[in-house]
Symmetry: C2
Subunit: 768 residues, 2 copies
């Protein structure tokens, strides 16, 4: 934790601001800008890589952070993970040789990336980082596994490709898997507390089971299948564990309840204590830990960010007067911003400068400079007022009374309501039988109406504003309507020419028709608010998606080794007698076969994933697990219980905790402090846009310019250029997380915490 930071002397800059070579007033070299821009960019994206500061390493590091090698890496991770589709048991069988060659190629790419990384950071840091050791371990083990597997196969022995479970760990251990690592850390941190609650829960389960055994085993009760009821202790424990998940309620209780309603009290007590109280306590413990550790972790992240910005400042600073505070000049600041974010517009950059240099002095101090990383993370939309092209081309016609009336009509509320009604009527028509020719033809009328709407809007609103990057619903409408038009035309051509209807095309037509109805949501303000909140927490939810995929992949690989081929699904509806018991006589008479769950098997990676999802939803998981236990051994249930504990009790609760926390932050904080200062500045410069106009998606005669380099002095042509903060979007998941907790931090606090030096793979508190 407090290990001496040996590699510190490698870093030429000094945050304390003592006299070091490039801390003077000498003109900054390109190398200085490279180094500073890397610090700023690392701070902006919260990269915590302790890179070597020699000019060559900096160059290499800039290449390391380029988006092309990153996309390349993720592509190959995806390829590596997708190999499961082609390996035995395969969805699409391919000779082992091919998959192995592809896997070796993937391993090569990962090794190259790792070598690149090793060249960027100091050697001792590289070997101290568990991430790198993990990746090297995975690579070596995979090669060993490939060799062993191939030799065993050649000798016709039983061979297992066990290294496949390691593949998803690559996603966690690559430098870009920060969010995923953080999610795993928050799970690991919650585990000790969960463990004790879980033990107590297990104790309660065992006690209740014992009581059930004593009360019910000797009464000669029968289950609905005629089997003896509650006579075996381990079976009772399993049944009552399933009851906690509610999957076998009320069936498990019925034989006892039929005997006497007094026994129902036993089950009611059990459900109250174990299902309601304990499961709520699990959520409370997980949530509490999640909040606690997340807070600590984000605090460290923010500290590390400031630390990096202070280093960048130390590289760029100049001494204006003898003994004065060191500052950064506007020229250097401009240069660094251009290098960090080349696509930023001049106007936007000047806006950021005017926020930082509040008093218009031409230079800024440390506190203002440190804000830069956060300022760059605020998405500012630059809007430029621009006349409608028709207005420029045919001014007389476009400004005529009838044309203006049309414009006013389209912008009126009634227009929106009219189209909402059309959508409703359309919904009814879709619901009706499409074989009625009237209904079938009405589709053309609706398509025409929707097209007309888009054309009218394009007539009224400036097309580039209409299709701006942030007009989600305009894009949505246009794409859906045009796709529906194309699909409907193809479908009708096929139907009329060959009197044959393609099921696939028809399905697409139907989906597009129904999707069109979603548009209604956008016209109701309350709905829009809820949906916006959901969209805002969306990217963060994706981290949990990755987490789930990692866990699913591991369980799928293990499940496939354990259960592949044990349960068969027969595609054809022919009266194969084996179909009734999924091709395995052991399943005869089981609920699994009776409910026709044969397709829920581990015979390939796709059905494994779907089966694991069904297990996550929990219902009937006891039937599924008993099915697999029937074809193998009763201990196979352990696989399903472990899955339930890990995914449902731990991960889903962390997911719920995350959604709750994100919602509360959304409700309580509206905009970060920094964003507010930026907004104030925008208002000061009288550049703001009426909020409502944009909120209503009526971006009338305005356009988003993303890299308008020629605007020059924006303040002079005031009416033509406007800014708006896309405050409701976050460029990174980190930004949302940081906003959650940034309110607690003192903006003037630059204390370096050496605990969080370098890559901090394990934050200090994880040792607790």
């Amino acid at each position: 934790m407090s290990e001496p930071d040996k590699s510190k002397e490698d870093i030429p800059d000094d945050p304390a601001g003592k006299g070091i070579p490039n801390g003077g007033n000498a003109a900054k070299s390109q190398e200085d800008f490279d180094l500073a821009s890397i610090y700023v960019s690392d701070a902006q994206y919260n990269r915590n890589i302790y890179f070597d500061t020699s000019p060559e390493a900096v160059k290499l590091y800039m290449r390391y952070n380029h988006w092309i090698p990153k996309v390349f890496l993720f592509f190959f991770i995806l390829v590596d993970l997708s190999l499961a589709i082609f390996e035995k048991p395969a969805v699409f069988p391919v000779p082992t040789l091919y998959t192995m060659l592809v896997e070796l190629l993937c391993l090569l790419v990962f090794s190259l990336r790792l070598v690149h990384y090793a060249k960027v950071i100091p050697r001792d840091k590289f070997w101290k980082d568990p991430k790198n050791i993990c990746i090297i371990g995975i690579l070596v083990l995979t090669v060993v596994d490939l060799v062993v597997y191939e030799s065993l196969e050649a000798a016709n022995w039983y061979a297992v490709r066990w290294s496949r479970v390691l593949r998803p760990l690559l996603l966690v251990n690559v430098t870009e898997g920060r969010q995923l690592r953080r999610a795993f850390r928050s799970i690991r941190n919650a585990l000790p507390q969960i463990f004790y609650v879980f033990l107590l829960f297990m104790f309660s389960l065992l006690i209740f089971s014992l009581m059930a055994l004593k009360l019910l085993s000797k009464r000669g009760l029968k289950t609905i299948d005629g089997a003896p009821y509650f006579t075996n202790y381990l079976e009772i424990v399993f049944d009552l564990y399933v009851l906690v998940t509610t999957a076998n309620s009320p069936d498990v209780m019925m034989p006892a309840y039929n005997a006497s309603f007094v026994f129902a009290i036993f089950f009611i007590l059990y459900i109250l204590i174990n299902t309601y109280i304990f499961m709520s306590v699990f959520l409370a413990v997980v949530y509490n830990n999640y909040k606690k550790y997340l807070k600590e972790e984000v605090r460290q992240l923010v500290r590390a960010k400031r630390h990096k910005m202070v280093r960048a400042f130390a590289v760029l600073k100049e001494q204006r007067a003898e003994g004065g505070e060191p500052v950064v000049t506007q020229t250097n600041w401009n240069q660094i911003v251009k290098q960090v974010q080349p696509e930023i517009s001049n106007a936007h950059r000047e806006l950021l400068w005017s926020v930082s240099d509040n008093n218009n002095k031409g230079f800024i101090g440390k506190v203002a400079f440190v804000q830069l990383a956060d300022l760059l993370n605020i998405e500012v939309i630059t809007l430029k007022s621009r006349p409608h092209p028709l207005h420029s081309a045919f001014p007389a016609f476009y400004m005529s009374a009838s044309s203006r009336l049309l414009c006013r009509l389209v912008q009126h509320r009634v227009f929106v309501i009219a189209y909402d009604l059309i959508i409703l009527v359309n919904a009814v028509f879709i619901g009706l039988d499409e074989e009625n020719p009237l209904i079938a033809n009405s589709e053309w009328a609706f398509l025409a109406l929707y097209l007309l709407e888009i054309l009218l809007k394009l007539y009224v609103f400036e097309p580039r504003a209409f299709f701006s990057r942030h007009s989600f619903w305009n894009w949505f409408d246009t794409i859906i309507v045009i796709s529906a038009l194309i699909a409907t035309i193809i479908n009708s051509v096929m139907t009329s020419s060959q009197s044959y209807t393609s099921r696939q095309i028809l399905d697409i037509v139907f989906i597009l028709r129904v999707l069109r109805l979603i548009r209604v949501v956008d016209s109701i303000k309350r709905f829009r608010a809820i949906i916006n909140t959901l969209i805002r927490i969306g990217p963060a939810i994706l981290t949990f998606g990755q987490l789930i995929i990692v866990v699913y992949y591991i369980f799928a690989m293990v499940g496939m080794e354990l259960f592949k081929g044990k349960i068969q699904f027969f595609e054809d509806v022919s009266v194969d007698p084996a179909r009734a018991y999924c091709g395995n006589p052991l399943l005869k008479g089981t609920a699994f076969a009776q409910l026709n769950y044969c397709k829920n098997n581990f015979n390939n990676v796709v059905s494994s994933f779907i089966l694991l999802l069904e297990l996550t939803v929990v219902n009937q998981w006891h039937v599924l697990s008993s099915g697999f236990a029937a074809v193998t051994h009763v201990s196979a249930r352990l696989f399903f219980i472990v899955f339930h504990i890990m995914v449902v009790i731990v991960i889903i609760n962390i997911f719920v905790a995350f959604v709750l926390e994100a919602f509360f932050v959304e409700y309580s904080v509206d905009k970060g402090d920094l964003q507010t200062s930026l907004e104030k500045k925008i208002e000061e410069l009288e550049l703001t846009v009426a909020q409502e106009k944009l909120e209503d998606n009526l971006v009338n005669a305005m356009e988003t310019i993303d890299s308008d380099q020629g605007t020059g002095q924006s303040a002079s042509n005031k009416p033509a250029l406007m800014f708006k903060i896309a405050s409701k979007r976050y460029r990174t998941v980190d930004a949302l997380l940081q906003r959650m907790f940034e309110a607690d931090l003192d903006p003037e606090d630059f204390a370096e915490n050496d605990d969080a030096n370098g890559n901090f793979p394990n934050p200090a508190f994880s040792a607790v």
Copy 2:
């Protein structure tokens, strides 16, 4: 909200401290003490009754608050609610005349209580309070219903006892139903927000259903029963609504999944969006509203409490010096404390005084006086060191070396561990077959061991300390062991004398045996911590129990009217053919009959409650609702859907929100500020007890005295008397709620908020 407080002039005291008759230095009359004690006691228990301050009304009000009429009232509410057991459809049928007479008696009691209340509070306040109007309404409607029902019955027409659904509302509207009203208010406040999320959720459900209809209806798929799959829109909506509750997963998906795995994607998307995202959003919205309004409500409660204490202060205050601050003398303070809490010990009272009068001046000001209500709510255990009776009787023997060794042995950790091991062995023996004579006889050995343990502890620890009010586990152990001993003896006597075993007695023996094992939990520190937290939030959870009972009762009454007798359960196992379809041919071939759910019916209030609990647990609720729809009409499903929305989506989420919030408060705040100041005082007075000793339940040679009136000056006989704060217990649910939010309030803030005047049945914010 800000209506002029007309009845204010009735109140003789004046919180602003202007010259009013009894604000002077005149000796206080008994009437003054009565009035002041009522204010203090109202503040202590958070009663918000705007009573008349005339001496007669005050006397009446004191009687109104006495525990006997309250218990009487709740007893008759219980009787009124229990009538459902005896009314048609009855568990134990009784002639209608008797139940009606009992009901009339109940109505009489409620009317008397209401008349009493009307005499206590000003007339205009009485008629403005919706609670009273509600009760009068319920009483009148019940009488009308009784008359109408009786006349219809006499004329042999169909009659419904519809007023029965009103009964549980009495629980909500009596003055003592504060917590319950608050829970209902927090539900009502959350409803608007929930409503919009629910609409959006319904929209999503309808869109997905439409898509399912278009994609799946024409494919000729069959369900497992051979019925057409997903062809009726309303059926699809119902099926997909059930899928949100996960009750029909994965069955609803199997036919489509068997046709192609592509359709599984549709269902996965549906589950992700509707089950995971929307259900989390429901919890987030409910939780957020709950927190927001609870905070506001408790803030108002605390303000009202202070307001009342200020009034009490105004009654008791004296002017010590001209122009000085008004104060309350120790004599008056003692008198008022004695009157408010007669059972308080002198020592305890002096401790409270020394906390209030920190500088030992003999009088206290307003700020210190206002704390009194909170001080009284802190449970202080007065401990008195007292020698063991054996020590007094046989000092030589008790203090002998062997006796001391025994004492040290029993207090040693090894003793606890040894008995934990015995319990574990006992658990194994219980699990084994009790027909083995060795096992059966071992029970005697275990009983002897447990008895020995209790006797040994009684030898070592002072018996009155051992059985003190707060030694939960000692009481638990002793009661369980002695009951087990008695039951085992009865059982063995019956077995040996008549060679007949009573099933009931044996059941009790088994239950007691298993309950004994729970004791292990107390020896593991981590478990004890979790259990203590659960016990602490226990009383608050009981409010939700009442809430659930109110809602269940209403649904049970409605359900019984709708579905009584439609589904029969046949007790005897004779081969009655009607047994297979629950006595209703309409159920032939349904899942309801196949799963043998016949006892899940609305034929009496007990089975209705059990059925409603099963519906709350959710699993298989679609089978249950479809069963009832089959015997009546498909619209019967609405009853079950409404139940699901109200209970599972709203109430259970509020319950989870409550548990989460209570847990977080428990984790974050350890002791209220006031408790800490009291503890400091105890430490100052050197009266504290080593915390660990008590925590370990080893209340060595100490005794709880609850109303020791003769102690006199406690400080003089210091070593004999000790205090301990039972900080982990709350006398009232309110206290826990207030501690949740009290940290936000300024202790010096006495601003009267007229919004919260009188009874505030509807807090100001509920108008939003």
